[in-house]
Amino acid sequence: MTTIIEPTVFTEDPFTEAAIADPYPFLERLREAGPVSYLEATGTYAIVGYKEVYEVLMDFETYVSSGGLGPRDIREDDAWRPPSILESDPPIHTVMRRALTGVINPGTVRALREPFTLPAVEIVSELAKLDSFDVVTQLAEKYPIRVFPDAVGLPEEGREHLLPYGNMVFNAFGPENYIYQQAFANGDEHSAVVMKLCARESLDDVGFGSKIWDRVKDGLITEEQAALLVRALLSAGVDTTIFGIGNTLSVLARYPEAWQRLRENPTMAKFAIDEALRVESPFQKFHRTVATDTVLGNVHIPAGSKILVFVGAANRDPQKWGDDAAEFSLDRSSSGHVAFGMGLHQCVGQPIARLEMEIVLQEMLEKFETLELDGAPSPLIHNVLRGFDSIPVKVTPSR
């Protein structure tokens, strides 16, 4: 018999600027409150243990998504937009997921390597003329926005709304604080443009977008669902990859030995990326809703509760990763990390994101003998994403 314990009441607010700018000391204090604790500031349960986070991700019947990934239950309140695939449960989720997985899978993504390589070569070659530059503004924010919309089949016009829209979508997974308000400043305009980009007539005939719309013809999904799936690609496929590239390079700039080892063996780039995503996970936290009374980490959680799932903390849980969990190590197997989620809602775009990150890192390794920080990276203030708005680096070009 497991003993049911009262959750520790944790009084710090996870959505303050201090907890966001430097999340790890905050997460360590939260971890001391146990794998499952109660957050007084938000009235939600915090899930930080790897085992408990994994259970939440696997048990999609108890921890449902249709209540939304934000702190409010969108089934009771009006959501700010029609629910996405991420905010749905089976069986609605099931047909949408089938449509998406049929279109985006390792086979279809493999064909992207060539078109994705040239822009990376161009951008990094320009950087190779410099002694120092900003990884975020001069590389990470430039590359995905060049290649990803092409892969979806978007027109040129309107692409400038993708980043602000992604910023809205992810910030809405947190409370409606000033960070949220800033993200939503021109929200109506961004939403309107992006919804228009998702329409069949906006998309070319070869990209992932049109392939998703093809599933309307064969009756799997409705027109509304097709538009929502294209919207899901556009909202989830840009920011996260930008942060993934930035976070990976911010880690490697602090580990010069790893950089040297990677230069000697560039095929290890994908392991380095995986480990960097574990240590500095771009998507740090989101909510789920408890459908029926349950026990998690020996804590009783009543039906209807919102839980805040800290995947970024699970990825640094010493019980799973060892005492050096917070350290980047090229020798660690980071397999099993939950930076892309796990189970039913696991990131569909994962192979695309991995491809983009690998191509960029391999180009960087080829062009630069060393990469070091040139001042402290400046953290981005965002409700749920972990990233930087500036990562100044010094480089020495390859001879």
Binding site: F60, T94, R97, G107, M268, K270, S335, G343, L344, P351
Partner: protein, 326 residues
């Protein structure tokens, strides 16, 4: 190019046919005992045996008796129009008292631990499921079997399963009585902590793979009816993997994945679902012939043989060495 030596034949067992009984249209159930009267080696649900039908004619059949009684092995053989007449030979020549050489049971389709199971069988694909149902029931798991066939008279073991487990757990569908097995309905609602086990004709499994794209990655486990010709047969032999990037080579044991073997040897493979469904571990093949067991690569990719998913796929029978870009 590497030259692949034929894999060593597995140890064989001398058996005698105890009974041969027609249990459905075109399905013969054979019970085998060891000639020396000793027990068969232990096996687990999902296992199959090679049956030697003469010279180099070998067929694989799932074991459908119970692992609790090792004095006997039971298989079910559907008569099919295969080019070399393997199943026709079984139906025409194997009678009680006949001697039969088989391999020890081997398992490419093990029942993994889970809280809940959904079993789907098409036709003679019921055979590996029978011991699985028994184990799931003994362990008190939540499970259900959906079993479809052309007609009730073609569905081997249907009546005894129904009598043993009841109509709540055994759902039978005959194409000539109702609309048959509706996979769409069966797989419409993904369940948490539920694994899907399916065995049946290729077309049915392809449809199940597509439907399971809406389920969590890694839940689906299938066994295809093995290709008829020897050489395309499923191999459970150990094989070598040469690591072109890392250097050196590792031996992959029958019960081990390439990923596990490579990691045990201290080298690295990026992987995620470890079930042939997410594609993270896709690896380029430099030489050697793979046996694809994933649900990710298209048939075109599988035929091209340039990449494989090393979490589930293996070396093909007769290929003792794969050289991989690892």
């Amino acid at each position: 190019m590497t030259i692949t030596a034929p894999s060593k034949a597995p140890a064989t067992l001398d058996t005698v046919i105890e009974s041969a009984e027609k249990v459905a249209d075109e399905v013969l159930s054979l019970e085998l005992r060891k000639v020396d009267g000793t027990d068969f080696p232990a096996w687990e649900p999902g296992a199959h045996i090679d049956v030697h039908l003469g010279d180099d004619l070998i067929r694989q059949y799932s074991v459908c008796s119970t692992p609790d009684d090792l004095s006997v092995l039971k298989i079910g053989v559907l008569r099919t129009p295969d080019s070399r007449g393997g199943s026709a030979y079984v139906h025409e020549h194997l009678t009680p008292g006949t001697a039969l050489t088989i391999s020890a049971p081997r398992n490419n389709f093990p029942l993994l631990k889970s809280r809940k199971y959904l079993f789907i069988a098409g036709g003679v694909g019921i055979t590996p499921m029978i011991p699985m149902l028994e184990q799931a029931e003994a362990e008190g798991k939540e499970w259900v079997l959906h079993y479809g066939g052309r007609s009730r008279t073609s569905m081997a073991f249907a009546d005894e399963l129904l009598a043993k487990y009841g109509p709540e757990k055994i759902l039978l569908y005959a194409n000539d009585e109702d609309n048959g097995l509706d996979l769409n309905a069966v797989l419409a609602l993904p369940r948490a902590h539920m694994l899907v086990y399916a065995c049946g004709p290729g077309g049915m499994l392809t449809a199940i793979e597509e439907l399971c794209m809406g389920w969590p990655p890694g839940v689906l486990h299938t066994e295809r009816f093995v290709a008829a010709e020897l050489g395309a047969a499923s191999s459970s032999e150990p094989f070598e993997v040469e690591l072109a990037q890392t250097g050196g080579s590792v031996k992959v044991q029958p019960n081990q994945s390439i990923v596990d073997a490579v990691e045990e040897a201290g080298a690295r493979v990026l992987s995620s679902c470890r079930a042939g469904l997410c594609g993270t571990c896709e690896t380029r093949i430099i030489s050697g012939e793979p046996e694809h067991r994933d649900a990710v690569l298209t048939q075109e990719d599988k035929d091209a043989g340039e990449v494989m998913l090393v979490c589930v796929s293996r070396a093909a029978a007769g290929c003792s060495r794969l050289v991989l870009d690892l």
